[in-house]
Amino acid sequence: MRHRPGSSVLLVTLGLLAAVAQFGVRAQQLPRLAPSYRFDAARLDALHDAKMRGLNYIPGEVVVRFKRGMGPARQQRALDVVRSRPRLTDLEWFGETAVLRDLTQPNSLFMAQQLASQPEVEYAEPHYIRRLPVRRRPQAILDVGDPSIQRTPNDPQFGSLQWNFSLIGMQQAWDINPGATQDVIIGVVDTGITTVNQSFTFPLYTGSSIQNVSLPFAVSPDLPVSRMVSQRDFVFFNSGTPVLDMEGHGTHVASTIAEETNNSFRAAGIAYNARIMPIKACVGYWELMIANAQAGRPGFNVGVDDGFCDSVAMAAGIRYAANNGAKVINVSIGGPGLVNDERAAITEAVSRGAFVSISAGNDFEDGNPTIYPAQFAASINGAMSVAAIGKSQRRAYYSSTGNWVEIAAPGGDYTDGGGQDDGLIWQASLLYTDQDPLIRIPRFDNYATIGNQGTSMAAPHVAGLAALLVSQGVTRPEAIESLIRATAKDLGTAGKDNDFGYGLIQPRAALRGLGIRK
């Protein structure tokens, strides 16, 4: 029997019972929700092993997709090639993709090759994980800035901090299209965006023992629930809801795309009337701490369990977004390792009418490897890989380069800001000091304007622009890509190049479209 999300109620209940039995405490608040399946002890061991060995996949696991028309008998025949002779019911299903775990065969590459050679199998590959994009020199600020600097919009930090929007002429773009419309839905596949104002009780190692701890969560005032739609958690809560961000990355990305604007509060976002579909495909340090505690594993694991994005969850999230009305999908995630399932998911999303913006990678100084899924974007018309530039329109020092880079947008560069982190991208997100891995008990209900840098920050600029274009009537992903390319400001070597692709996005020009001669 396939395990599908619809059957999750039973698993949630079982997970809850296991948690209660294990820790022997009475759940204090909302005990019906519990993190579970993906973080059992065996998988946590495997993730830990992957981290220590520098692997970008989970040892002992492969992702397999059978060819269409293969019945259970044929699928089982293909599985029989694996040493442990797994049964179909042992697979974890995500739509038509399944994860096979064989603890007797830690060599995932070998197992994937074995399965891939079977005639019933479309593809099989290691269960890749993406590291959370590096966030360098983050800094929180609590002041509200100087409102007198502002012209439009009226958010007090727009003029003082958001150089990135001025650099791409957002004020003029908003004259043409003021923040898109609410019928435009943008899927954000990331660490999540918190969608509830409440506390949850989770097991957590607190320094001396594992205890059940109440952790407060709150919705960002600049991303109200009224602008959220069809939230979905693919990695933490088996129930799929609610979505919680315990890292801040997803909230920052979503704020660039659609932070409340003209509300005289904090900063602005690009498509501030559009709606956001929070899709959680990544976990951070604290989710792993909770999972470790739930598995009865004490200890702090700073620098080890620093979070990851599950490639299967990413693919499932991309498909989910496209199938549930998202016209734009942002994927600020990447890493080495080609995952066919991600390529298939992006291709399917584009064919369903969703434009996909993907970060090009932050690995220029780390050997500049080919980054996936960004690399796929170059061959998918309707998906774009986005490089990062700094304040002076130079390539950000970390921004990966390669022939897959298609477009550039502000991603921040602390070396290119004139000091004091002026060169970062500033948006509302979780107050970093509240959930720093070095503290004992985190909280996730405080927000501030946070400075980050990365191609993770660049991609949402393109996603936001795409949302404006959709509301302008350019609804086909291929057309959106074409228009963004055609109107880009060429940077670097003349024409398309490996640093900037076709150049820096020009929202006003893209929204204004083309006349006869200009």
Partner: protein, 231 residues
Amino acid sequence: MRRVLIAILSAAVLISTPEIAAAQQKPTQKPPAPATRKPPPKTPTGVRLYGLVDVDFMAATQTFDATLGSSTLIGFGGGADITNVWGGLFLRAALSHVGKSGERVAVAGDEIFPLGIGLKLSMTPIEFGAGWRAPVGKRKRANAYGGGGLLLVRYSETGDFAAADDDTNESFPGSFFVGGVDFLIGKVFNVGFEGQYRIVKNALGDGGVSQIFGEDDLGGFTIRAMFGIRK
């Protein structure tokens, strides 16, 4: 007496006509009489003044279809032909004006996405040309003509939300070839129809939709109706 009179008159005629007399004196070779033609009556230089209506079928069909919804444009104007400058030679100066509104668009492959952002086109071709006219028919109230010349197209394109250098206001040179016929109605009234083939290369194609479609010619084929006077 009568015979004498006839002889005197004959002699007088012969004397007064030396060639005849000489011929009579040398009757051996008589050259053929040279053919003589009446010189044509000299036609005075005239002028033809007219108002005109143009139907322009633009060469850049995809560009104009995409932005204006049609590549067939209507123009109005006027002109003057100076006729019979030298024989059937005539000289022309004329201008017409085309104005049409449309929308700026996004283009992806064969698909056009109107963006709801207004676009206004204004085009004024100015013609300087020459040609040859010849009367047609027995009553000579119709003239057929053909010719060509130079064009100067004043081109203006404006759009909503335009920044300083977004709009276009330029002139482009070109050429045209023309053929037509006109009819005299009454003593001075004149009706004419002609076709023009216009070439205005490199006026388009540097940007905008025309670049995407690879269309660089602002010319095309024009059908023109003219109403005026001929003197």
